[in-house]
């Protein structure tokens, strides 16, 4: 137990790294919306995965029960996080693993660099990991003269193209097969010049490209999908076998994992390994899952390290109404069903975490006032598709609204002149806080005709409402509100009854 725990909130320490959007979401979204190819690719891919997910989820008679168990397990993990971390640490260490703690992105990067140096390596193979994406590990290692080779097919595509991932599961979802072929032809030194764009041929090209790297690598870097506290076990869920290559062949394995990835016990995996594959790739089970507990003599890496990362997670945990965002198991179901993500793609969100989960997780990890992250919680029509799809039942719409209120609150008093939206909301609150005042304002409805054209449509509105009339008309208001009509109708009825 810590002696400094005082039972009161401390000052949250936010995270750093690739967690920010540098421009407001609407600005970035507008640019992405103009990219017809991107929208076609995304529309095709997200629709494919949605249908698959629905099919395999419908197969399970106990899907809702699994979601309930998953959600409760994660709630319990958050409530017990410090003790579970200590339990995990004890078990992992007892079996020969070494744990490192990193307060933020920079500290994690430095730890990893030192471990690579200690292993005498200047290149590493990597299995796809959101945590290392978040801390910007590849960029950092490159600055330090260490080459990091992404081995997941989609990560490889993105890395070869010097692009950024746009989806947490399928980072190259924004590219179609012919674009991928072009990237391979351009960037793979020994590629078959007659490479076609059939996915099987492209996958084979990746196999040939990476085979030597896998068989000779000294150091591998991974993330982890789950960590089991009661046994000290780590788990990586994957499809291609690149994970198995990285986790098995090198002498040194360095895993970077957020502190929230814990599960209390091994048997909890029976729930999460039913929820995750069906929610992410729409498969009954992913091709490969690897579990390791510290070091196993004669089998796999003999130097096994784990970097436990805070980087804003403690700050997110401190937000009672936002902390369930940490339940996320990175399945990406929310982005696959999101109508906003489907149209803008992942780059519009700036952060490593795009889509609905990113719109809450990024500002929770960085603080709502950091750069343009306050614009992210507004990147949703609150349609609720994400909440329905989430395997651990994160109420994303509710957290989006909570973060909007944090944003509004954080701006109060900081501006000399309130914005148009602030003024409008204030005025509307006064009017709508009373039926009498509402009735009074409705008396002015006939004036709406003045704004409308001869076809009784309003085609241009000023100020904050201008966004509406860019693509939509507004009908002219009626000459009489319902309230007015009701009052007159009932006066008539009442007077008839008297007569």
């Amino acid at each position: 137990m810590s002696s400094t725990y005082l039972g009161m909130p401390g000052v949250p320490v936010f995270g750093s790294g690739n967690l920010h959007t540098a421009e407001p979401f609407p600005v970035a979204a507008r640019r992405e919306l103009d990219n017809e190819q991107l929208r076609a690719n995304l529309g095709h891919a997200t629709h494919t995965i949605r249908d698959k997910r629905l099919r395999v989820v419908a197969e399970l008679p106990d899907w809702e029960e699994l979601r309930e168990a998953g959600s409760a397990t994660k709630t319990a993990v958050m409530a017990r996080l410090p003790e579970l971390l200590e339990e995990f640490e004890g078990n992992f260490t007892a079996r020969g693993g070494i744990i490192h703690w990193a307060r933020d992105a920079a500290e994690a990067n430095e730890i990893v660099r030192e471990l690579i140096r200690d292993a005498g390596a200047d290149e590493v193979v990597k299995v796809k990991s959101m945590a290392t994406q978040e801390i910007g590990l590849n960029e950092y290692l490159e600055e330090q003269g260490i080459s990091a080779f992404e081995t997941d097919l989609a990560e490889l595509i993105v890395q070869l193209d010097h692009d950024k991932p746009s989806h947490i599961l399928v980072p190259a979802i924004h590219k179609n097969r012919s674009q991928i072929r072009d990237i391979f032809l351009r960037e793979m030194p020994d590629v078959d010049p007659d490479l076609t764009d059939t996915p099987a041929r492209l996958a084979e090209a990746a196999r040939l490209h990476l085979r030597r790297k896998f068989l000779s690598a000294k150091v591998a870097i991974s993330g982890a999908n789950f960590a089991l506290a009661d046994t000290g076990t780590l788990a990586v869920v994957e499809s291609e076998g690149n994970g198995r290559m990285c986790l098995t062949l090198p002498e040194t394995l360095i895993t970077v994992m957020g502190v929230e990835k814990l599960l209390p016990s091994w048997t909890d995996l029976e729930v999460f390994m039913q929820l995750l594959p069906r929610s992410s790739t729409g498969e009954r089970m992913n091709p490969y899952t690897s579990l390791w507990t510290g070091v196993t003599e004669g089998d796999g890496p003999q130097n096994v390290h784990l970097v436990l990362l805070d980087n804003g997670r403690s700050a997110a945990l401190a937000d009672e109404r936002g902390r369930s965002a940490l339940h996320c198991i990175r399945c990406s179901a929310c982005m696959n069903v999101c109508p906003v993500y489907e149209r803008t793609g992942g780059h519009a969100y700036g952060s490593t975490y795009p889509g609905p989960i990113g719109a809450i997780l990024s500002p929770l990890l960085t603080g709502i006032t950091s750069e343009e992250n306050a614009s992210l919680p507004y990147a949703s029509s609150l349609c609720g598709a994400c909440y329905d799809a989430c395997p651990v039942k994160i109420n994303i719409p509710e957290i989006l609204v909570h973060l909007r209120s944090e944003d509004v609150q954080s701006r109060r008093g900081t501006k000399k002149v309130p914005g148009q939206m602030d003024v409008a909301m204030k005025a509307a609150s006064w009017v709508m806080g009373s039926g009498r005042r509402m009735a009074l304002v409705e008396k002015a409805l006939p004036l709406g005709k003045l704004a409308a054209g001869p076809d009784r449509k309003i085609k241009k509105l000023p100020g904050v409402a201008a966004g509406w009339t860019r693509s939509r008309d507004l009908p002219a208001p009626p000459t009489q509100s319902f309230r007015d009509w009701w009052a007159k109708e009932h006066e008539q009825t009442a007077s008839k009854e008297q007569a």
Partner: protein, 206 residues
């Protein structure tokens, strides 16, 4: 203050409201109630869906079936502890043992690998290897491009919780559901990337 102490302190103070850890409702299925024939059929169906090869045989027919699957194979790896009778009819066997482990190059030079398995889950089409004798270390079943995996019908469970509760997780576990695959191009599944591109499962009836 060490990073460890500081992070744990931050997390403790983040829980200033002392939230309660709820009871976990475990109302999901823990058993399937299927008999052996049903389990075999479901497992077969799922594995075929993943584009794995599946044979269902009696114990006596295993050697012949394994030999057929390895036809044309110059050399294949077996982990120490695998019942020698099962591969008796297939020439080209190379044994990988803790005492004399094969090098990565030797594993890469083999055309195939034959292993046993610890458990299988019918509903998800999953075979689990735990590194016990006959299953080998993880590199064994990974590097050769063709994996012939023997599954005893008695080790097949209907749903995942049944299997999980019978395994020792402190062994290195590999869960295999079909040959390696990717959905990274337009979210369409394509079989065959870095792991074995061919998976043949031989289910042995009790």
């Amino acid at each position: 203050m060490s990073a460890r102490t500081e992070i744990l302190d931050r997390l403790r103070s983040a829980l200033h409201d002392a939230p309660e850890a709820p009871e976990i409702p475990r109302k999901y299925r823990h058993t399937s109630g299927m008999n052996e024939a049903e389990l075999i059929e479901l497992l077969r169906d799922r594995l075929l869906d993943y584009k794995a090869g599946v044979s269902v045989v009696d114990e006596a027919s295993v050697p012949a079936r394994v030999a057929e699957l390895l036809a044309g194979t110059a050399s294949y790896v077996v982990p120490a502890g695998l019942d020698a009778r099962w591969t008796a009819l297939a020439p080209g066997r190379v044994v990988d043992s803790p005492e004399e482990p094969l090098s990565v190059e030797e594993l890469d030079g083999a055309d195939a690998v034959v292993t046993g398995s610890a458990a299988a889950v019918a509903e998800t089409g999953t075979i689990i290897l735990d590194g016990s004798p006959g299953q080998g270390r993880r590199a064994c079943s990974l590097i050769p491009d063709h994996h012939v995996c023997l599954v005893r019908a008695g080790d097949i469970y209907g749903v995942l919780p049944e299997a999980v509760r019978r395994l020792d997780v402190t062994h290195p576990l590999t869960w295999i559901s079909g040959p390696s695959a990717t959905s990274d191009i337009e979210l369409q599944r394509v079989e065959g990337v870095h792991g074995p591109r061919r998976l043949d499962v031989v289910i042995i009836r009790s």
